[in-house]
C-alpha cells in the first residue's frame, strides 16, 4: 500500500509517496539518501537511528514512515546552523571526547537533544536514564555524559 505523506524534515517541507512497510529509517537513508542517521540493529535495541519526531526521541528503525505525516522530524543533519556552526551538544561532544568511532554519535546526540529540550538542567542520573537505550561500545559513556552535562551548562548560561 502506498500513501502520500507530508511532513517537515529539518525545517524543509516534504511531500512524498511512501510504502506502508517502510520505516522512517528506510525513508531517510534509502529513499532520501540522508545517511547521518545510522542503522545499528534495525530492531529498536541500540538507538543508533534515534531522531526527533515532534520533539520526542524515537528509534526510526521501528517507526513506520507513514506515521510522520503532519509531524516535524529532526535528524542529526538538522542541528548545525547553515553557517556550519555546531549545535552546543555537537560542540560539547567534540570538545569532551564524546566521539570515538562515531557510529552511535548521531543517535546519542539526538537522544540527548530530546532530553535537554524537555529538561534543560538534567542530573547525571537523568542523563544516564535518557541515554540508556543508546548503546556505545567505544567510550564507556563517561565522556558522553560529560558532554551532555557541559552542553546543558552552556545552554543555561545563554
Amino acid at each position: 500500500m502506498k500513501q502520500v505523506i507530508s511532513f517537515v524534515l529539518n525545517g524543509d517541507r516534504m511531500e512524498l509517496e511512501v510504502e506502508s512497510h517502510w520505516t522512517l529509517l528506510y525513508l531517510l537513508r534509502e529513499h532520501l539518501e540522508i545517511t547521518g542517521t545510522k542503522p545499528g540493529c534495525e530492531s529498536g535495541e541500540c538507538g543508533a537511528c534515534t531522531v526527533l519526531v515532534n520533539g520526542k526521541a524515537i528509534n526510526s528503525c521501528i517507526f513506520p514512515a507513514m506515521e510522520v505525516h503532519g509531524a516535524t522530524v529532526i535528524t542529526i543533519e538538522g542541528l548545525a546552523k547553515p553557517s556550519g556552526e555546531l549545535h552546543p551538544l555537537q560542540k560539547a561532544f567534540v570538545e569532551h571526547g564524546g566521539v570515538q568511532c562515531g557510529f552511535c554519535t548521531p543517535g546519542m546526540i539526538m537522544a540527548a537533544k530530546g532530553l535537554l529540550d524537555e529538561n534543560p538542567n538534567p542530573t547525571e542520573d537523568e542523563i544516564r536514564h535518557a541515554l540508556a537505550g543508546n548503546i556505545c561500545r567505544c567510550t564507556g559513556y563517561v565522556q558522553i555524559i560529560e558532554a551532555v552535562m557541559a552542553a546543558s551548562r552552556t545552554a543555561s548560561q545563554q
Binding site: 545510522k38 530492531s43 543533519e77 561532544f93 557510529f103 556505545c136 561500545r137 564507556g140
Partner: protein
C-alpha cells in the same frame, strides 16, 4: 619549544565534527552506481554433509542477477591455515558455513532468493566441547587431519618448574573457565567489491588490515584464474574494530565472486543478527594454573596449561597463545615458567582476535590465582604484587627487554586511591571488598609478522598546509589526530594545518595493520621521522632566504634569514632565526618560493619505520615489542548476598603509557576498555547450544549501557619511553586486560567466594555462597 606545541594537550579528534554532524561516511552509507546487494545462505546444521543444493527457484526471481554455490565458482580458500573455502560444497562444519549466495537489485529480493534455496543435508554427529573433541572416537571436524587437535604446538619453557614447585614454600593451584564474547562494533561489517574492465578489483571494506587484506584479495584473484589482476582496498570511516576486522572472511570473497560473475559492484552488509552469529569471537579457554612462592613471597614458578576451543576453522584465535605467553612469562618476576596450549577443532563458531588478543583470558587466571597464592602465603595482595613487580632493565624469561616500566607506580596509585592499607587494617564493611590486578602488554609494536612496519609520506603545499599519507588505520581510537599532533609539532604548524590521508592502498604507504596497540608507537614514529625530514628540507631552502616586503607606508624592507639551517626553526607557521628572534618569514612564502622558481623543488619526504623488535624464535622467545605497557586496575565492589548483584563503587585504572600525546583520547581508551573489561567480567556471554548462538541481539547479549556506567578514574603514569614518539607507548588494548581479575578479587574480598568462570553472574555468586554455607 615543546610547550607551545599540541603534544600533551586535549586536542579534539580531527574527525569529530564530521561524526557529530552525520557527514562521516561508513560502509553502511556507501553506494556505488549500479550496485547489487549480496546475501549469503548459511548452514542449517552444525555438522553435515551437503547432498544437494537446488537454486532453481532463486534463479527465476525477478531482480536476481546471480546465484552461486561452490559448484559454480572457482574455489577460493582463506584463513590462517587455508582450512576453508568461501563457499562450502561437500560438508558444513558449523552454523556459520556459507553454502550459497545471491546478488540482486535490492536487499529484499536477495533475502527472498536466499530463503527459496533448498539444501538437502545428511546430518553428522557434532562435537561442541574441546575436551570431548580430543577424546578417541570423537567426530572429526576435518577428517583429513585425522585428529581435532591443531598442529600448532604452543609451548614455552624456562627454568625448572617441577624443581621450583618442590622448593616452594607455598603453592596455589586452580582451574579457570573463559567463555565466548564478541566485539559488538556499533557498525556491522560490510564490503563492496567492484571489478573494472581489466579485471582489477576495488574493495571497499571496514578493515583493520588494508594491506594484508589486499594480499589476501590478490591471492583470491589468482585462485580465480585472473593472472595479472590487482586489488585495491578503500576504507570508509570505520565504526569500531576491537580485533574483529583483523582477518578476511568468507563474505568478502563471496562479494568478490558475485561481482565477478555479475560484472557489477556487489555489496554485502551484515545485519546485527548476522554480526552476532557470524563474527569470530574471543576464544574460550579452559585454564589450569599453579603458581608458587618462597617464604618471603617471591614468585618461584608459574605453570599453566590451556585448552582452547578453536571452533570449526582457524583464524587468528589459534595464535593468541603467542600473546598469552606474554603475561604468563613476564607479568611480575617469575624465574621458572611452563606453558602449553592445545587448540582444538569443534563444531562451534570459530574464534579470532579481540582487544587484548588472549591477554584478558591469561591475565584472569594469573591474577585470580595470584590472590589465592598471596592468601596461602599470608601476605597482603598489594604487598605481594609489589614484591614481585617488574622493573626497568629486566630481561624476562621470554627474553623481553623491559625498558621503561611503571608497574610499581601503578600499584601504588591504585593502593593510594582505594585507601588500601587503611581498608585492610580497618574493620570489614559488610558486603564490600577491594581487589586489584595488573597487566603487561606490548607497547612498542609487536613483531608477529616478518615486518612490524608502517610507512608515511609527508607533503607540504604552497600554503604551509601539510598532507600526511599514512598506512595507519583509524578505527575510532583517534590515530589520525595523534599523528597530526606529532607531525604538527615536529614541523612547527598547527594540528588543524595537517590533513591525514589513510583510506586507500593505491595512495598510502604500507602498514601491517591496526593491532597490538601499535599505531601511536609505530605509525607515530614513522610520521615523526618523515616530518623531521620535511622540516630539514624546509630549513635548507630557508637558509639565507631574503624576504622583500613593503610596509603600510610603502617603504621597502628586507628580512634575511640566517645562512645556516642549524640556526633556523619553525614555529607557528613562521621560519625564525634562532640568532635573532625578530627575524622571521612565513612558511607559506618560502614554500611558494620553492615552487615558483627555476629548478624549483617539492617539499616531500617518506619514512618507513620498522622497530627493531624480534619475532619469537622456535622456543617462542624473543623481544616481541620495542617496549612494554604496564598497568594496574583496582576496584571496590558491593555484593548483595541475597541477589548476587555486584555494584562497582570505585574503579581506578592506572596505566604506564610512556607519555600521553593526547590525554583526552587516552582517557577515552581507558574508559571504553574498562567498560568492555567489566562487561567481560560481569555481563557478557555469547551463549552457544550445540554450536548455535542463542542470544544474537542486544537484549540478550548484555553490554554495559549508560545506566551501568562504571566510575572509572584513569591515572596516567608517564615513564617517557626512550623509543616512543615523544615518549609514548601503546594504550588501545591494555585497559580491558585486568578488569575481570580485579573485579573477581574484589568480590572474593567482599564475600569470601571465588568465581572462576566468566561472566560472574548473580546466579553464580548466589550458588557459590550457598555452597560455602
Amino acid at each position: 619549544m615543546e610547550a607551545l606545541g599540541s603534544v600533551g594537550k586535549r586536542v579534539p579528534k580531527l574527525d569529530a565534527a564530521d561524526k557529530v554532524t552525520g557527514r562521516a561516511v561508513y560502509i553502511q552509507d556507501l553506494k556505488v552506481p549500479g550496485m547489487l546487494y549480496g546475501k549469503i545462505l548459511r548452514s542449517k546444521y552444525p555438522h553435515a554433509r551437503i547432498i544437494h543444493i537446488d537454486t532453481s527457484k532463486a534463479k527465476k526471481l525477478l531482480g536476481v542477477r546471480a546465484v552461486i554455490t561452490a559448484e559454480d565458482v572457482p574455489e577460493v580458500r582463506f584463513g590462517l591455515m587455508k582450512d576453508q573455502p568461501a563457499l562450502k560444497g561437500q560438508k558444513v562444519r558449523s552454523y556459520r558455513d556459507e553454502v550459497a549466495a545471491v546478488a540482486a537489485i535490492d536487499p529484499q529480493i536477495a533475502e527472498e532468493a536466499i530463503s527459496s534455496i533448498e539444501v538437502e543435508y545428511d546430518s553428522l554427529p557434532g562435537v561442541f566441547n574441546p575436551e570431548e573433541a580430543m577424546k578417541e572416537g570423537a567426530p572429526l571436524v576435518h577428517e583429513e587431519n585425522k585428529s581435532n587437535v591443531l598442529k600448532i604446538p604452543w609451548k614455552l619453557v624456562e627454568g625448572d618448574v617441577d624443581q621450583a614447585r618442590k622448593d616452594s614454600a607455598f603453592v596455589a593451584e586452580d582451574s579457570y573457565d573463559l567463555t565466548w564474547v564478541t566485539h559488538c562494533c556499533m557498525g556491522t561489517e560490510g564490503v563492496i567489491a567492484d571489478f573494472d574492465l581489466r579485471n582489477n578489483l576495488t574493495v571497499y571494506r571496514n578493515t583493520q588490515i588494508p594491506y594484508l587484506a589486499q594480499r589476501d584479495f590478490n591471492d583470491a584473484l589468482r585462485a580465480m584464474g585472473l593472472k595479472g589482476s590487482k586489488s585495491r582496498v578503500i576504507k570508509p570511516t570505520i565504526a569500531g574494530g576491537f580485533g574483529s576486522k583483523l582477518d578476511t572472511y568468507a563474505f568478502e570473497y563471496i562479494a568478490i565472486l558475485l561481482a565477478y560473475v555479475t560484472r557489477k559492484p556487489v555489496k554485502i552488509l551484515q545485519t546485527r543478527e548476522e554480526e552476532f552469529r557470524y563474527t569470530s569471537t574471543r576464544q574460550p579457554a579452559i585454564v589450569n594454573i599453579a603458581q608458587g612462592c618462597d617464604q618471603n613471597g617471591k614468585l618461584t614458578f608459574r605453570d599453566i596449561s590451556m585448552t582452547l576451543d578453536n571452533g570449526a576453522y582457524t583464524s587468528w584465535g589459534a595464535t593468541t597463545p603467542s600473546v598469552m605467553m606474554m603475561p604468563i612469562s613476564s607479568l611480575y618476576k617469575v624465574p621458572n615458567v611452563r606453558y602449553e596450549a592445545t587448540c582444538v577443532y569443534t563444531n562451534n563458531t570459530w574464534s579470532q582476535a579481540m582487544r587484548g588478543y588472549g591477554n584478558p583470558q591469561a591475565t584472569f587466571a594469573i591474577e585470580s590465582n595470584l590472590d589465592q597464592l598471596a592468601l596461602e602465603a599470608g601476605i597482603d595482595p598489594m604487598e605481594f604484587r609489589l614484591i614481585n613487580a617488574n622493573e626497568p632493565g629486566e630481561i624476562t624469561p621470554q627474553r623481553f627487554k623491559i625498558t621503561t616500566c611503571g608497574l610499581k607506580e601503578c600499584i601504588w596509585e591504585v593502593g593510594k586511591r582505594l585507601e588500601w592499607e587503611k581498608r585492610k587494617k580497618g574493620a570489614k564493611i559488610e558486603g564490600r571488598g577491594i581487589g586489584m590486578a595488573s597487566l603487561i602488554h606490548v607497547g612498542g609494536g609487536a613483531r608477529v609478522y616478518k615486518s612490524d612496519g608502517c610507512g608515511t609520506i609527508v607533503k607540504v603545499d604552497d600554503f604551509g598546509t601539510v598532507s600526511v599519507f599514512t598506512g595507519a588505520t583509524d578505527i575510532g581510537q583517534g590515530a589520525e589526530t595523534v599523528i597530526a599532533q606529532m607531525v604538527a609539532d615536529e614541523i612547527g604548524v598547527m594540528p588543524e594545518d595537517v590533513t591525514i590521508i589513510d583510506n586507500d592502498t593505491d595512495v598510502c604507504p604500507w602498514d601491517v595493520g591496526v593491532h597490538a596497540s601499535r599505531t601511536t608507537f609505530v605509525a607515530g614514529n614513522s610520521a615523526l621521522m618523515a616530518a623531521r625530514k620535511v622540516k630539514e628540507q624546509i630549513l635548507k631552502i630557508s637558509a639565507g632566504y631574503v624576504d622583500r616586503w613593503k610596509d603600510k607606508e610603502g617603504n621597502r624592507h628586507e628580512t634575511k634569514l640566517d645562512d645556516d639551517p642549524a640556526n633556523l626553526f619553525v614555529r607557528d607557521r613562521m621560519i625564525c632565526s634562532a640568532t635573532d628572534p625578530e627575524t622571521k618569514v612565513s612558511l607559506g612564502k618560502i614554500l611558494r618560493g620553492a615552487h615558483y622558481s627555476q629548478g624549483g623543488t617539492m617539499i616531500m619526504a617518506e619514512h618507513f619505520y620498522d622497530p627493531d623488535n624480534e619475532n619469537l624464535d622456535r622456543e617462542f622467545k624473543g623481544n616481541l615489542s620495542k617496549t612494554y605497557a604496564y598497568g594496574t586496575h583496582g576496584v571496590e565492589v558491593e555484593v548483595d548476598k541475597e541477589t548476587g548483584k555486584v555494584k562497582i563503587l570505585k574503579y581506578i585504572a592506572a596505566h604506564d603509557v610512556g607519555r600521553a600525546i593526547n590525554p583526552m583520547l587516552l582517557e577515552g581508551q581507558i574508559y571504553g576498555a574498562a567498560a568492555m573489561g567489566t562487561g567481560y567480567a560481569l555481563t557478557e556471554q555469547l551463549i552457544l547450544e550445540e554450536g548455535k548462538v542463542m542470544n544474537a541481539n542486544f537484549r540478550d547479549y548484555k553490554i554495559l549501557t549508560a545506566k551501568d556506567v562504571i566510575p572509572v578514574e584513569p591515572v596516567i603514569v608517564e615513564t617517557m619511553d626512550q623509543d616512543g614518539p615523544y615518549g609514548a607507548k601503546g594504550i588501545g588494548e591494555p585497559g580491558c586486560v585486568p578488569s575481570a581479575p580485579a573485579i573477581a578479587n574484589a568480590i572474593y574480598d567482599a564475600i569470601g567466594v571465588r568465581i572462576k568462570s566468566l561472566p560472574i553472574t548473580p546466579e553464580k555468586i548466589v550458588e557459590a555462597l550457598r555452597g560455602k554455607k
